[in-house]
């Protein structure tokens, strides 16, 4: 049943993205607002999938690559649902959906080809659960900061070109996008810090590769924030770095 929930959720995100693109192209408003509710519907099916997998394993469902990808998607969507409106970035969901769709398709393929099945823990370690879930929530925030970075670059390009296209009027002001990138970086770095601190209390200390990879991601984002806050680098390099940093964070996932 869990795979059905994941497929439904993935199809909803695909539908939401297609609907938003069609809406933006047609010139009709309204459907972009519907996107929020579609994201919420996709989120419910993500929750159902993760619940089923959690019950299967008897712990937080991040025991294999596919589950990790879905958990990151879940983090992206929950952060969008929670922060999209306060950050005045309703279009963030439209830009997030391709990422969520691709990750979930990869997860579906992975589970179809080789579902490792139940992996109950020998002993349940709440610190391990805390470490894993906080770290992946942090990845969600970093993912959204990268997406906000893409939106910034698109809007900056349109403003510089003197020939604003259709997206120009739908995208938020670049100041809001800059603020969103910084806030999401702060949220992500804070969550990752909590996750790393939790690792120090785990019954079984993480191996060196895991520790190095997590530490490297933390250092990259820490330096990025520090450079921005101290040197006040221009928003464009900040947006580029937010995108690159998320790419780097994704690469480290295979090590973790």
């Amino acid at each position: 049943m869990d795979d059905i929930y994941l497929i439904i959720s993935t199809l909803i995100f695909l539908g939401g993205f297609v609907l938003a693109v069609v809406s933006l192209r047609s010139g009709k408003k309204g459907e972009v607002g519907l996107n929020f509710w579609l994201a919420a519907a996709g989120f419910i099916f993500q929750c159902l999938f993760l619940k089923e997998r959690g019950e299967l394993h008897g712990r937080c469902p991040i025991t294999n690559g596919a589950e990790v990808l879905v958990f990151i998607c879940w983090s992206v969507v929950i952060l969008y649902l929670a922060l999209g409106k306060p950050f005045r970035l309703s279009l963030l969901g439209v830009f997030s959906m391709p990422l969520v769709f691709v990750f979930q398709v990869l997860a579906i393929i992975s589970l179809t080809l080789n579902d490792p099945g139940a992996r109950p823990p020998e002993t349940l370690d709440p610190w391990l659960e805390m470490h894993a879930s906080m770290s992946l929530l942090a990845y969600g925030a970093f993912g959204l900061s990268g997406i906000a970075g893409i939106m910034y670059l698109v809007q900056d390009r349109q403003l510089k070109s003197h020939d604003p296209g259709r997206l120009f009027y739908s995208l938020p002001p670049i100041r809001y996008l800059t603020d969103a990138i910084v806030r999401l970086l702060v949220i992500g770095t804070f969550l990752l810090s909590v996750g790393i601190v939790a690792a120090f209390f785990m019954k079984e200390f993480p191996d060196a590769i895991h520790l190095t990879a997590s530490g490297a991601v933390w250092v990259v984002y820490g330096i990025l924030l520090l450079v921005y806050l101290v040197r006040r680098i221009s928003p464009k390099p900040l947006a580029l770095l937010a995108i690159c940093a998320f790419g780097f964070a994704l690469l480290t996932l295979s090590l973790i």
């Binding site: 009709k28 403003l159 003197h162 604003p164 800059t178 464009k236 390099p237």
Partner: protein
């Protein structure tokens, strides 16, 4: 009993005629009373704006009422029947016309919102004068619903339609809310004043004016509630402002890349928007290559305004589709017959009594 509309607008009559036909606001209740004494006219609403003069009404014999209304207007406003050609709409056509007017589709600036408030005011005046009953109440309330629906479901308001609006819209796409934005004006000409006022209307607060003639700078600064500075000092303020509007009469560029580069370095990542409305241009083109600096000249702003007009024109059919869908679902309530039972309860449209129907919230 049916509804009708009679009027002239910017498409059918020149301003010389429209200004002669314009109703003086305080005399509208008196006119409404006179109009309701014409033939079978039972209800009436007068909409009089810069771009249109229209009378909406309900009458037992709308054709005859329209003829008598033309006679009334021609006589009262002392215009010759040959000078003016009124458009006339009856029944569904009259309702469709009002719905398009309320949606901004019949406005000079396509999609503008001011007309919506003007219709509300016209209706409130008529309602306050006791000139409306069931049909006009239904018609105007439906027009408010349609106007809102069209604006919230289409992009008829999207894009700028003038150079000033384009500059302000771009500023909002860079800074969002202009509330905390600081503006510097170089050159105290008319274009600067208009652009600065547009920025002020969207919340820009602190305005610095610099001009070769300091007296003129002081004059404009006083008008804009800003501060005047000497022209040789403006570059020292460049790092403190968010928007620069330049329209000096200099025959060469006055704002150079190195000046802006130096100013941007001290702005701690804040964007700078430069609006060059001077001909010859005041600001070097290379300034736009700087990171986080956005430069627009008069031609680029004009192109955005032209594109905005085109974009809005393309929305007309989408808007009409929205109106059509609305009417398919709801019908024109003002044309619906009253059930006999309700008529006996005293809800006849030919009451002539003040309506108790409330104005909807905007």
């Amino acid at each position: 009993m049916s509804i009708f509309c009679l009027g002239v607008n910017h498409k059918t009559a020149p301003v010389e005629i429209r200004e002669r036909l314009a109703f003086v606001e305080k005399s509208i209740p008196e006119h409404l009373e006179n109009i309701r004494e014409i033939g079978s006219v039972d209800e009436a609403v007068v909409l009089s704006t810069c771009n249109r003069v229209e009378v909406y009404g309900a009458a037992e014999r709308p054709g005859e009422a329209l003829d008598r209304l033309v006679e009334y207007l021609v006589a009262h406003f002392e215009v010759s029947p040959d000078e003016v050609e009124f458009y006339r709409h009856e029944a569904e056509d009259a309702a469709h016309h009002l719905f398009e007017v309320a949606s901004g589709l019949d406005s000079m600036v396509l999609g503008e919102t001011e007309i919506f408030g003007q219709i509300k005011k016209a209706y409130a005046t008529a309602q306050g004068s006791g000139a409306t009953a069931r049909r006009m109440n239904k018609l105007f309330q439906q027009s408010f619903s349609v106007g809102k629906l069209v604006r919230s479901n289409t992009r008829i308001q999207q894009g700028s339609t003038s150079v000033g609006a384009a500059a302000v819209d771009l500023a909002e796409k860079i800074f969002g809310n202009l509330g905390g934005c600081r503006v510097m004006i170089l050159g105290a000409g008319e274009m600067s004043r208009v652009t600065a006022q547009s920025l002020q209307s969207r919340g820009a607060k602190s305005i610095i004016v610099s001009n070769r003639s300091y007296d003129k700078a002081e004059e404009l600064a006083a008008e804009l509630d800003g501060k005047a500075i000497h022209f040789d000092a403006w570059m020292h303020h460049l790092d403190q402002v968010d928007i620069v509007v330049s329209s000096t009469a200099a025959p060469h560029t006055v704002v150079h890349r190195d000046m802006v580069e130096k100013a941007v370095a001290g702005r701690r990542g804040h964007s700078l928007f430069l609006i060059d409305i001077a001909v010859p241009r005041d600001i070097e083109d290379e300034v736009n290559e700087l990171d986080n600096v956005y430069l627009y000249n008069i031609d680029q702003l004009q192109k955005i305004a032209d594109d905005g007009v085109e974009r809005r024109k393309k929305q007309i059919e989408i808007c009409r589709g929205v109106i059509h869908e609305f009417l398919e679902e709801k019908g024109i309530e003002a044309l619906a017959e009253i059930p006999a039972s309700r008529r006996q309860d005293g809800e006849s449209s030919s009451s002539g009594k003040p309506s108790s129907s409330p104005l909807p919230n905007s």
